[in-house]
């Protein structure tokens, strides 16, 4: 379904949702940095900056409690977290690179184990994507088969128009439902032209060729060459819209505490540190190799998708300038 919504009506839509108790999550400034966070008013939404972290945290928070316990004498009580408490959510202003990573996460969180924390939030969330109008030289969505107007992952997709307002295109029943529930705010599509969209400069990468090379080069001097300088932090994985590894720890006292799930990263030395003391990924290049292998081979082997949507966040924030786009491009030319 094609529709039009004015800027003012979009504001009204979000404010109405907030007033009715829906959690509206959008790019928003927090202590000087843009993050996807719940709004208290539609005016807080910022659309001109890529949030520092991706939209994955709307479903997969940085840290969440998954169980709690109390212990008194011999009596131990466990309390589950009830996912039914997760609120209905509208995630809005999502960049195409962030939205496209969400179906990629769906595949892994609903594979052999159904992750109720992720899936319940996912079920209750409607995603409003927004076409992208700015790219820098770290952006490479178009190199991994996406584009600044890609609708993958969105339930409703907005494209900003010359003269204001947005062209709306529904992508799912959830998107149709959102429009049906707020008919008065949407109008028939107009003939206004789309504002110029972003133009990422990186050339298309042949992902099949990259995968074919990775299939045969688990051992290769390339890994030392690109990753000896990797410092082993988790910044790349934590800002990534598709990285989804997590750690589980119990925190508290003998009397009471919580079991918590929080983001983990394959760059960390302890990520594969065994209880025996052995570490199969004992050197940083082996850890970095896993990052590339997981994104461009293992995930494809299992789910037929690439675990990278070209948002460029890791390229921008890597303390030592490791550039995944340049690396994959190089592999693609081998």
């Amino acid at each position: 379904m094609q529709k039009y919504i004015s800027q003012q009506n979009l504001t009204t839509l979000l404010d109405t949702l907030i007033k009715r108790g829906t959690r509206v999550v959008a790019p928003h400034m927090n202590a000087g940095i843009p993050l996807y966070e719940p709004l208290t008013s539609a005016q807080e939404m910022v659309t001109d900056q890529l949030p520092r972290r991706s939209a994955k945290e709307a479903f997969f928070p940085v840290c969440e409690d998954i169980m709690s316990y109390t212990k008194e004498g011999q009596k131990v009580e466990l309390q589950d977290i009830d996912p039914a408490r997760f609120p209905e959510t509208v995630l809005v202003g999502v960049r195409p690179c962030d939205a496209a990573a969400i179906p990629v996460l769906d595949a892994v969180f609903s594979w052999d184990y159904q992750d109720e924390f992720f899936l319940e939030r996912r079920k209750k969330t409607t995603i409003i994507g927004l076409a992208c109008t700015t790219a820098d030289d770290a952006c490479f969505c178009s190199a991994v088969g996406l584009s600044p107007s890609d609708t993958k992952g969105s339930d409703l997709f907005l494209t900003p128009l010359e003269g204001g307002g947005y062209a709306c295109e529904t992508q799912s029943d959830k998107g149709e439902q959102l429009i049906a529930n707020h008919k008065e705010l949407f109008a028939a599509p107009t003939k206004a032209k789309t504002v110029p969209l972003a133009e990422p400069q990186t050339a298309q990468i042949d992902l099949k060729k990259v995968k074919a090379w990775l299939n045969d080069h688990f051992e290769d001097p390339l890994w030392d060459g690109i990753a000896t300088r990797c410092v082993g932090c988790g910044a790349c994985a934590f800002v990534c819209p598709a990285c989804h590894c997590f750690d589980i720890v119990d925190e508290g006292t003998e009397k009471s505490g919580k079991r918590r799930k929080s983001w983990d990263a394959c760059g960390f030395w302890k990520f594969t540190h065994h209880a025996s003391g052995h570490n199969p990924r004992d050197l940083q290049p082996k850890r970095y190799r896993n990052r590339i292998m997981h994104k461009f081979k293992y995930y494809d082997d299992k789910f037929g998708q690439t675990l990278c949507s070209g948002c460029g966040r890791c390229v921008r924030i890597c303390p030592v300038g490791i550039d995944i786009a340049a690396i994959v491009e190089e592999i693609g030319k081998k």
Binding site: V231, C233, G234, K270, R316, P319, G321
Partner: protein, 308 residues
């Protein structure tokens, strides 16, 4: 204060001099490797590189994006870097202070280093967009208070004249003064907000030349010493442990602050510690090679006034 462009035209002469010197010491086998900066795909970028043969010396550059403190790669935390024989390393004055500290802590041996010092007019605060011109606004805060533009005690320093620089307002001293003027409750609110942003990616730890512990206390889980999850309790504990462990050691390369993806002003804590050390013991980390600093020695002249 208005924005002033800063003159970095000497950097091309410095790059050429670094290349020539690196080529010479590699060709003469004085060193087994040279750690420096090289350009990469993104416009204006400069990244750490380790070269082992003289032909690769042509890759070395120095630009306003040469932000990294390469001393990190000399430490035992970076076991992946083969350290056979003498190593050449490109250092700015601020990076050199870290090497001085590491020499004092018996982590490095001077005779195993070939120091290529860089006369430095400043580097960028952040390299998320490396093709940024160096101005009084984009310059790293540490450079506004730099007293080591011309590194001393190196094996080689390119012979170039540093351009006169417009006066820069010291960013840390101003911010420390602002925070010191707050009430303890207000200061606590400020740091609580900052620490709440932490996602425990440990980029700050991983780039710090002084975070070379084999096993970080904050990674331990048997027993857990500090909550490892990115939540208020564990975040606050981590940042306090970090700041305290660096007191009297950190010489202000500010890599922790530069790499923080959440823009937590980590070097403010380090500078505050440095200020205390200077006031209490007239001590400045990184200025000379010392076996022990004021916090690792005891004398009966030490200030006891805090015991009440």
């Amino acid at each position: 204060m208005s924005t002033n462009a800063l003159d970095t035209t000497i950097y091309s002469a410095i790059s050429a001099a670094i290349q020539a010197e690196a080529k010479r010491i590699l060709a003469e086998e004085q060193v087994s490797a040279v750690i420096g900066y090289a350009a990469a795909r993104r416009k204006g970028s400069a990244q750490p590189i380790i070269i082992n043969n003289a032909d690769d010396a042509a890759k070395l550059i120095f630009t306003p994006a040469s932000v990294n403190n390469l001393a990190l790669y000399l430490t035992k935390a970076k076991k992946d870097i083969p350290k056979k024989g003498k190593i050449g390393i490109v250092v700015k004055g601020c990076d050199l202070k870290a090497i001085v500290g590491l020499l004092g802590e018996a982590q490095l041996k001077r005779e195993e280093l070939y120091l290529i010092g860089v006369p430095c007019a400043g580097v960028l605060a952040a390299t998320t967009q490396p093709a940024t011109a160096l101005t009084s606004e984009t310059i790293a805060p540490k450079c506004t208070e730099c007293n080591a533009q011309l590194p001393t005690g190196c094996d080689y320093v390119p012979n170039v004249q540093l351009p006169p620089q417009p006066p820069l307002a010291g960013k840390y001293s101003a911010e420390i003064a602002r925070l010191e003027a707050l009430t303890p409750a207000e200061r606590w609110a400020y740091w609580k907000e900052q620490f709440a942003k932490c996602i425990k990616c440990y980029a700050c730890r991983q780039v710090c030349p002084f975070c070379f512990c084999e096993q970080c206390l904050c990674d331990r889980n048997k027993p857990q010493m500090v909550e490892t999850t990115p939540r208020p309790a564990g975040n606050t504990a981590w940042h306090i442990v970090r700041a305290m462990h660096l007191a009297g050691r950190c010489a202000g390369c500010a890599e922790c602050e530069r790499v923080c993806p959440m823009d937590i002003p980590l070097n403010l804590l380090n500078r505050k510690m440095a200020k205390e050390l200077k006031e209490l013991y007239a001590y400045e980390a990184g200025s000379e090679v010392l076996d022990k600093g004021p916090l690792t020695t005891y004398t009966d002249k030490d200030d006891q006034s805090f015991i009440k």
